[in-house]
Symmetry: C2
Subunit: 346 residues, 2 copies
């Protein structure tokens, strides 16, 4: 076994603190990654606080992991020692179901093995990226393009793919009007990616407070959702909207902003179910869809796209000792736009 | 003016009774239709009872109209006296907006002119098909295929297109698994059309009471939604589901029955908004969509498709004097599967 250190919650809602634990010795197809940076995702907080249920403690969170390969198993072919790699939201899947075979491992029928607060099919518990070392099968490891800095690339592993996947799938591109609801960790990467894909990008934010940021990130338009005129002027406007807001909003008002055959995609998870009217869907043949991260091949495609376009997350780099304070700030949306932990501080 | 007779509600929820009123004299592009039969749609009842708001009385309902052309305006080119024609849910639209130009007149930006309880852009009130005569612009008139009987074709004008449009749009066909939720006026036509398109059709009905009917109509499978095993055995199963039920059901349970990238389409309008969870949409990239009737060209396409495949509605023919009793039976789902009024009785 490999003894390592991390930051863990020992029980629900407890402050994270130093924790020693063991990783498995690398199997034939495993890669050992020395973690350099790990992004802080809002879902880390949901899980640590057991807001989605099913939390098992101690829990080492973190699924926006970048680092350097320090050791490889005997049958590893895709990576070598010294490679710059990433690990995202899951570290295994059944590899046999229709979803896995088609590259949608995130929707594996048997259930993907999440990077933390989960267990492998043989019962091994998973521990996340707020730690020094992780051991992962090479098929669930990604390559970080040379053109990108490591620290600001970390959030691409979750926030990046969460936005890239629906933008790609629903064909954001030239001539398409894309609305990004919420300019936070997810939304700000969506603006960058949507803009790079050639779409007309509009940010829909509560106020105009972040307007200059939005324009700098690549938004063509920036509208306040607190202004009723937004909902009049943009009626029947968008081909695609992506809701990144993890709070409950009046989804029907946004459905009315879609053009004929437009789609509103949910990537955030609000605490309560949505109240959806039938008419806002029927008129204009609108669609309300969900999208969750992406498969392995698509995640690599996203990283390569970001490498080509020089896209990373806007980050605030912190030491691991600042993590509990950072959580409070994430909950208050007080970060532009993603905390990334420098694991050298551990 | 043309004086005609119909059955009208004089106020909300009042019993329908004989009513004399006037139709406009035919304009250059108008067709005068002697109405032979008119279907009874559940939405007639909603409107008469002002359950959707905005009802204006007296109201002559009816938008599943078939009849014979008895007179034409000077510039009518598509129809001649004696032609078998139909009129559906709307009788005009702006003809200029993007939706109208693309053949989605039902989603006209200016608002389509509904066949009853509505008004033309010049203020003329519309009165529906529970009457002897109607005057309609030829562009909003449809041709009934010679192969089809008139009486059982009437419900195709609303129920038929309501199911044909989403089945066609979401590509029901060979190799596709289609679920029809609810076997009533809408659902039973959906089974026939989906089967004719070559899809595997499953009826999801509250009980197995209508199972033999379902199989006769063309369903490959018939499942009871009161049986919890239905929701286990059909998890991740359907490419497309169409919800025809106008009552509130647990939509999340049905979303879980969709395969990867599957779509659940709403065509019924339940009384209350739906409660929709985020996870049933995110897992499997599911979509919840709406669909409303169809455009003029698509409605003609549907009629021609039905002519080719010998599809009509299963009907119970009634006299106009039975309409109030028929309404009570529609509300209790006590009709197999659509009442059609024989207008010779008026």
């Amino acid at each position: 076994m490999i003894t390592t250190r991390g930051y863990a919650a020992m029980e629900a809602s407890a402050a994270l603190k130093t924790y020693s634990f063991e990783r498995r010795d690398p199997k034939d197809c495993d890669v050992v990654v020395d973690i350099q940076f790990c992004g802080v995702c809002h879902s880390d907080i949901h899980q640590v606080r057991n807001e989605w249920g099913g939390a098992v403690f101690p829990m080492v969170p973190g699924h926006e992991i970048v680092g350097i390969v320090s050791r490889i198993g005997s049958r590893v072919t895709r990576y070598k020692v010294g490679d710059r790699v990433g690990v995202g939201c899951f570290v295994d899947s059944c590899r046999q179901c229709e979803c896995c075979r088609k590259g949608y491992e995130q929707f594996c029928d048997k259930g993907m093995v999440q990077t933390y607060n989960s267990q492998y099919y043989d019962g091994e518990r998973t521990m996340g990226g707020y730690s020094k070392v992780i051991v992962v099968d090479e098929n669930y490891v990604l390559r970080i393009p040379d053109a990108l800095p490591m620290n600001a690339s970390a959030p691409l592993l979750c926030a990046g793919i969460t936005l890239y996947s629906p933008l790609k799938h629903w064909q954001a591109g030239p001539g398409k009007r894309v609305g990004i609801i919420g300019l936070g960790g997810l939304g700000h990467v969506g603006v960058k990616i949507g803009h790079a894909m050639g779409a007309e990008v509009t940010v829909l934010s509560q106020t105009l407070k972040k307007q200059s940021d939005g324009k700098r990130l690549g938004a063509d338009h920036f509208l306040a959702t607190s202004d009723p005129n937004t909902f009049k002027s943009r009626k029947n406007y968008f081909d695609l909207m992506i809701n990144t807001v993890a709070a409950n909003i009046d989804i029907n008002s946004y459905l009315d902003l879609l053009r004929m055959d437009g789609t509103l995609v949910l990537v955030g998870v609000p605490p309560a179910p949505m109240t959806v009217g039938t008419f806002p869907l029927i008129f204009g043949r609108h669609r309300l869809a969900g999208s969750g991260i992406g498969g392995m091949a698509e995640t690599q495609e996203m990283l390569d796209f970001c490498g080509k376009h020089g896209i990373t997350s806007d980050i605030e780099l912190i030491k691991i000792q600042q993590i509990n304070e950072a959580y409070e700030r994430v909950v208050k949306s007080d970060v532009r736009y993603r905390f990334v932990i420098d694991m050298a501080s551990l």
